[in-house]
Every structure is written in C-alpha cells, then in structure tokens.
C-alpha cells in the first residue's frame, strides 16, 4: 500500500508539470499585450511604443517563451506567482486569503453534500419504487435543474429580506455560511444522491447480501455490508466533487459577495490581470490532480482487490 501511494504521488508530478505548461502557454495566446494592460492599469495617459518596450523588458517579456516559463514555474514552486498588473501587489497576497475563504465554503458545502446525498441515497434505495422514493427523486431533480443564480436570488429574497433571518452577503459569522452552503448543496446533492442510490441498489442484489441473510445474519449487519461496499463508488465521486465545487463557486460567491476565488477570478478576467488568472487556473488544476490522486489512494485503501493488484 505504501509503495502504491508513493507511485501514485510520483505519477502526479508529470501531470502537474503538463498542467502548468498549458496554463502558461494558453495565457500567452491571449490577443491582449500584457504590457499595455499594465500601462492602462497604472493610468499612463499616453502609451507609446517605447513605453511598451520598456515595460516588456521590466516584466521579462522580451525573453524566449521557455525561459519565461521556467522562471515562472520556479517562482510558483515557492508560492510566488508574480505581481498583479492592476494592484501591483504580489498575487499570492490576494489569492491566498481568497483561496482560504473558498476552501472554507467548499469544505462545509462538500460535508453537507456528502451528508445529504448519503442519507437520502441510502434511504431511497431501501424504499426503492415506493412513494417516498419517487417524491424525493422528483424533488431533487426539480432543485438540481433550477439555475443557481435564480435559486440564490430567491433564497436571499425569502430568508434575508422577507423573513430577515440570515445575512444577504459577506462572510461575517457561521450564519453567513447557511445560504451559500444550502445553495451549493441543493445544486449538487441531486447528482450525488442518485449515484449513491443506484450503487446501494446494485449492491442489494449482490450474492453476498443474499448469502449473509441465508446464514442468518441480522438485517442490520447485511445492510451495513451493503452500505460499506456501495460507498466505495462514492469515495472517488466525492473526492472529485471537491475541485469541481472549488471551481464552480464563481456564481455562488458573486451572488453572496463571498470574498473567495470566484469573486477574485471574475475581477481578474474583467481587468485582464494575467498573473492572477494564471495563478487561479494553476491552483484549480493542481487541486483536480491532487484530489484525483487522493481519490485513487483512498479507493485502494478501501478496496482490498485494488490494493493487492496495484501494490
């Protein structure tokens, strides 16, 4: 198992390198000249060709592509993503706190999604085909299909404005988490709930459940076996849910003015702040690779067959 972990972690290094290369290369394809963006941001009234050339030299943009890439990569490894073109501050000083805020929202949301989808998924599988199962599936389908910006606005109107129970925006106390977390949970739990439900249903028909019952094991023990085996599918699904939600909080953060990556990235894209965009894409891509690796390792730890085949 230890060997497999080391192997899997080592395998993710070339992938991370490839991700960093493409992130850097795609930003270079942008039609906007970064030097012009910097000069605009600094409020320079008249942008001349000499000024652009000087700025390019100052930013190191006159060097060949591979030299710029390796310099950028070496800095990134030390969490130095350069300076923002707009504010002039180091990117990490903006990205770090925003990332931390988004992680806080993501962790609470993923925990809520796991609780809701496992709880309802298992419950509905035991009652498959009954009225309660059909009603819950219908409700989740309805909620998942509603656009989150519309549902979020409705939530703010009802819970914050009409009932005056919760704050409309910001990140002041635990109460600020309730609406954004509820919105993300409602949007995603429907998908994960279905995966859990069908995994439990297919395990219920497995021979080991029948043999357990045939040996006189109590229903509670048989069901515990079914749930444990069903959740193996869920582990990888939930691991991948973390980066997906990390990347898709843009809408939710903008609705609730959450000071996270979503808000930061939208502002960076609108202002053509390339170092911030680059860092944002790199951090998210790295999160995908890391969580994918974590999911593989966790799966191997839970599934003895995978563990033996791969170690």
């Amino acid at each position: 198992m230890g060997l497999y972990m080391v192997k899997r972690i080592l395998q993710s290094i070339p992938l991370l390198l490839a991700v960093s290369f493409f992130t850097f290369a795609f930003i270079q394809l942008s039609p906007m000249d970064p030097a012009e963006v910097v000069l605009h941001a600094q409020g320079v009234p008249k942008i001349t060709d000499e000024l652009i050339a000087e700025t390019k030299t100052a930013l190191g943009m006159d060097q060949p592509f591979l030299v710029r890439y390796s310099n950028w990569l070496a800095s990134c490894l030390q969490f130095d993503f350069g300076s923002s073109y707009i504010t002039g501050k180091p990117v990490w000083s903006q990205l770090g706190p925003a990332l931390f805020n988004t992680i806080k929202l993501t962790v609470v949301s993923v925990a809520a999604i796991i609780a809701v989808s496992i709880g309802f998924g298992v419950y509905c599988a035991w009652r498959a085909g009954k009225m309660i199962d059909r009603s819950l599936r219908g409700l989740f389908f309805f909620l998942t299909s509603m656009p989150s910006y519309w549902l979020g606005t409705l939530m703010i109107w009802y819970f914050s404005v009409k009932l005056d129970l919760l704050p409309t925006s910001g990140m002041d106390s635990y109460r600020s988490y309730i609406l954004p977390v509820a919105l993300i949970t409602v949007s995603y739990a429907g998908i994960y709930f279905r995966i859990i439900r069908s995994s439990v249903l297919s395990n219920m028909n497995e021979d080991y459940a029948m043999y357990g019952r045939a040996c006189g094991l109590p229903e509670k023990k048989v069901r515990a076996r079914i749930v444990r085996n069903s959740l193996q599918v869920a582990v990888s699904v939930f691991c991948m849910a973390v980066p997906i939600i990390l990347g898709s909080t843009v809408v939710v953060e903008n609705i609730f003015a959450w000071p996270g990556l979503g808000t930061l990235s939208v502002n960076a894209i609108l202002g053509r702040d390339f170092p911030v965009i680059q860092a944002y894409v790199l951090v998210l891509a790295a999160a995908f690779v890391l969580f994918n690796t974590a999911s593989d390792i966790l799966n191997a730890a839970l599934n003895p067959k995978l563990r033996n085949d791969r170690s």
Binding site: N205, D207, Y211, R213, A214, R228, K305
Partner: protein, 268 residues
C-alpha cells in the same frame, strides 16, 4: 421414512404484474435424503429454493406452506425465520466468488455467522472453523480465513461454504447449482465434499443442478421442473431409466448422447 421438508401448494408470483411464475407446487424431501431439482434455466428451480429460505426479492411474493420438521416456516415472523436460517436451513451459493463480502476477509463472515448462532468464544469458533476447513482439504485454514474472496478460487470458496455448513450442522442444506461455475477438477472436488458432508451430518439436502452426471452421483430422488411446474418426481434410478414425461426423457437422452459422443471422440 419421515419427511424433513414438506412443501405444500407453493405459489410464487411477481408482485407488480401478478404474473404467476410457480403455480401450486408441492413436494416432500425425506429426512437424510438428497433431492435433486433439475430443469433448464428459468424453470423455477432457484426461486423454489429461495422461497423455502424466504429469501426471494421484495418484488416476488409467495404463498403456501413450508413444513420443516413439523414447523410451518411460511407462518413464522421474520425475526424467527432469521434464526432458522443458517442454523436449521443452510444455503450454498452458485458463485463462491460473489457470495462473500468483497471488502472483508472471508473469516469475518464465518465468525460473524457462528457468533450469531452459538455462544462459543472467539477461539472456539476459530478452532472449529479451522478443523472444518482442513476437513474439506483446505490445508492452510488460517490463510484461507485471512484471505479476501478475490484471493481464493471459486472452488476453494465453495469448500469454505461447505466447511461453514459442517460447523453449523443444519437440518437441511440447499445447494443452488454449486458446481456450475467450476472447472472439471474443482467440480469433482466439490462433489466429493458434498458426498462427505451428507455422510458426516446426515442432513437432508436439496441439490439444484442441470448437470445430470453430478445428479446421478449425489441424489436419491430427482424432481424435474419445466416452466415453473413439476413434471416428474421419482427416485434417481427410475427417472434415469423409466422417465414418464417427454421432457425428462429428452433431458436424459441429450445427456446420454453427449456422453456417447465423448466416448467416441476419446476412442473408447
């Protein structure tokens, strides 16, 4: 001879459509004897056996009486029925590989099952299980108990189920096509173990199979099913030599012609 199991007017139907799969089936199994149920796939052999264990899926409903040594299993509350499973009625599944929890060592299932039925200490359960595994020619019993199902072969897992049955000492053993998924060598070993199981426990056995060679070797009586109905029931000798029903005759003839063809090919 006294009957150990009496099935009376067993009817099995699909709950959603009301379609009758097994209409009004009645038969007896004598104490200490082995009844083989044969028939093609979908003839209702497995459904009948699961109905005896009351283990059919929720979408299947059953009616009729199942008498086990003077007790009507069909009328027992579920909790009581659960206590009979394993202790009085034991099942051996077709696919050993799928019968055990894939994420736990085989021994966990064995010990959990014994703990459910007996007040033995852990060491006593392990000791008994170890001896039973050795008796079915699994020479490294502790390795077998510590292995995960995928680390053992189908034939080994069938023998693990037989070993568990040996420790549980049930009144009735139901084997649902236990040799179908095995290669010839494993099939031979498993059949040998079934014969020894009968000798040692003297239990009543229901053996589902469509392998007439195995049936001839192990069964005292044969019950032939077709489309959910019992078309023939008699002693093994009578069914193989003086079958009354056309379907039984065709089954036996097909088996014999295959056997003759095999002999010709082998130049015997």
């Amino acid at each position: 001879m006294v009957n150990m199991l009496e099935i009376r007017k067993l009817t099995i139907r699909e709950r959603s459509t009301g379609k009758v799969i097994i209409p009004d089936s009645s038969f007896d199994v004598k104490k200490g004897s082995c009844l083989a149920i044969v028939g093609e796939s979908g003839s209702g052999k497995s459904l009948t056996c699961r109905a005896i264990m009351r283990l059919n899926k929720p979408g299947i409903e059953q009616a009729g009486d199942i008498w086990l040594g003077g007790e009507n299993l069909a009328k027992l509350p579920e909790q009581e029925m659960r206590r009979r499973r394993g202790r009085r009625l034991c099942m051996i599944m077709q696919h050993g590989m799928r019968a055990f929890d894939p994420s736990r060592a085989v021994g966990v299932h064995l010990i959990e099952t014994l703990a459910e039925h007996f007040d033995w200490s852990k060491s006593e359960m392990t000791g008994r299980m170890k001896r039973a595994l050795e008796s079915v020619r699994l020479n490294a019993p502790m390795d077998v108990m510590n292995a995960y199902p995928h680390q053992l072969s189908g034939g080994m897992l069938q023998r693990v189920m037989i070993a568990l049955t040996l420790v549980l000492e049930p009144d009735v053993v139901i084997a649902d096509e236990p040799t179908t998924a095995l290669d010839t060598v494993s099939q031979y070993e498993v059949v040998e173990q079934f014969i020894r199981l009968r000798e040692r426990l003297g239990s009543t056995m229901i053996f589902i199979s469509h392998d007439l060679g195995v049936v001839r070797k192990i069964a005292d009586e044969v019950l032939v099913m077709k489309d959910g109905r019992i078309v023939e029931h008699g002693t093994t000798g009578a069914v193989f030599t003086k079958a009354q029903h056309d379907y039984t005759r065709s089954l036996v003839t097909a088996k014999l012609s295959l056997h003759q063809h095999f002999r010709q090919v082998m130049g015997e």
